[in-house]
Symmetry: C2
């Protein structure tokens, strides 16, 4: 079967690590082109990773006939525009999360994906880790009994970098970090909550620096999600069932460990799935070698002729966007670019 030829859109930290992960472990993922807003930067990136083609514009990448799929590692605010650019040029697309800062834009991109009839996925990479598969297996097997509650926290004392604190760059804890927790709840419960309420603080730029979301799920189950970019939390997820409990210790967003215990905490089984070893250097840390998991999954889905991946379907992306939108409205975040465009309803 023909290899899937990757084009990379933007040359920031996350694109760097995506390429490092793909090249560091496997010859299965040829990377054939890189585009950034500056040809010089693109060439530098291309040289470092031995990528044959460098572009100083995204439009050139979109027209490159040698590219099968584009990975979008741009900042949050650019995701919808770039997704649409590549989709309308019939490229398959893997776009970093969050796909957009509003539900409206998310629906607009998904509509474009549908019309373009190519593969599209929001890069919710956490779901492709072996630990996530084990969580789904244990939950669906009934070994935990009924899941009654999820307790999640994600706090990092991040430097005041612009993309985290600035409203015009789509910053804030919710859209930078919160989506990791939200996707964990919908993965475990297999559906969205019946209600969601968020309380927190905005920073002086008008995006959230700390918040907690409380979700109610069917069968009187709940999830509690605490998040901040101003302090270090334990960064754990606890899934509480009537017959057992799961704990995903620090770094649940790129999970390598899972502890299954009885309801009162006696260990039953411990799982450890280290991320693929590689000699590559990562900007964001060695955990990012785990991006290979989602790349493998995307490749397989495309080769099977699919337009979306079952683990992060378009419907799921819309659900995540709906929940993020509810949380940001509760917090009072109003994006700079929000216009009066009508909401697009996905057919």
């Amino acid at each position: 079967m023909a290899p899937l030829r990757w084009g990379i859109c933007t040359g920031g930290e996350i694109s760097h690590d995506f390429v490092a992960s793909l090249q560091g472990h496997s010859d299965n993922h040829p990377i054939v082109a890189i585009a950034t807003r500056s040809l010089e930067r693109a060439q530098k990136f291309a040289t470092k990773f031995k990528i044959p083609t460098a572009y100083g514009s995204y439009e050139e990448l979109a027209r490159d006939p040698n590219v099968d799929i584009v990975y979008i590692g741009a900042i949050n605010t650019e995701h919808p525009r770039l997704s649409k650019l590549f989709l309308t040029n019939k490229k398959n697309v893997l776009c970093e999360k969050p796909l957009a800062l509003t539900l409206h834009e998310t629906q607009d991109v998904l509509k474009t994906a549908k019309e373009s009839n190519v593969f599209f996925m929001e890069a919710v990479w956490t779901r492709f880790f072996p630990v996530s598969a084990k969580i789904r297996e244990l939950v669906s097997s009934g070994k935990l009994g009924d899941v009654k509650s999820m307790l999640l926290n994600f706090g990092l004392d991040l430097p005041d970098r612009e993309r985290t604190v600035k409203r015009e760059m789509g910053g804030g804890a919710l859209y930078d970090m919160g989506i990791y927790m939200v996707q964990m709840t919908t993965m475990v419960f297999g559906e969205g909550p019946t209600s969601s309420h968020t309380h927190g603080f905005l920073n002086e730029n008008g995006v959230d620096e700390m918040y907690t979301t409380v979700m109610k799920f069917p069968n009187k189950a709940m999830a509690t999600l605490a998040c901040t970019y101003k302090a270090d939390y334990p960064n754990e997820v606890v899934i509480v069932g009537t017959k057992g409990r799961l704990r995903i210790p620090d770094h649940f967003w790129a999970p390598t460990d899972l502890i299954w215990s009885s309801p009162n905490g006696e260990p039953i089984e411990t799982f450890n799935f280290p991320t693929p070893e590689s000699s590559a250097e990562y900007s964001l840390g060695p955990l990012w070698s785990g991006m290979l998991y989602e790349a493998d999954a995307v490749k397989q889905a495309i080769q099977e002729g699919k337009k979306e991946h079952a683990l992060v379907s378009w419907k799921e992306t819309e659900l995540l966007a709906t929940l993020m939108e509810k949380a940001r409205r509760d917090l009072g975040i109003v994006w700079v670019h929000e216009g009066q465009s009508p909401v697009v309803v996905l057919a």
Copy 2:
């Protein structure tokens, strides 16, 4: 100095363990009388613990001139009436938490305590453990930096015993368990939150079975409190400061361990203060030997001529009641006995 002579009001599990704790460790706490609604039960309790006097009515205990202080271990709904009975008879009172099911009743009891000019304290025993003293020391020393967040969870899969599930008995997770978390937040922050929002589920009797409270504190700090009587949580408290973190592992309500770490979780110092050893048998478990700590504190305060204890002042009890009231109103709990009595404002 004359010993403080205790009278015990009701002979349930918690009274049993209170007496066991006092007698098991010390001759400093003579217990001179026990009263229950049935003389036979009182006599049985008296025989077991070698208590000289047994009464079949609370009024007799209130009039006993040999009793200096009454410990009230009755069910929640009875606390205000019994507190007032003993206070108006000029007995010092230590009443189990929660003092009342409404703010109005709490204020009414505190007003009676003030008029009676005797010692009164709500039995928030957690605050008297050495671990709690260590928490206060570390927070006030500035060693944690600014406390930005507290993450608390308290979940026990309790059998459907009447006093837990029944509205007419003052049941529900909030009033049975939640107060332990609420008092931990006000102890650490040294003040009440600027806002508090609670979301959860009521059971078929109309009291809460699961809920989460989100509190905002000054200086953009928050607390997240998750609680249920339907499932076992890790039952931990994490206090997140800008310079360090504290973790109180399972059983934070009767804390014997404390882990002080750097912001990212590297251990700095671990503290262990086991509860006093004793050969006594406890209905609720050996941790309850820690009730001695509050009894010692109460005794000392009374011997110093105080009417309230600095660690659980009347103002603090009123604050806790205010926060519990806000949470139950958010949840939609309406007590069976709630009348239209005007709110008493404490001078």
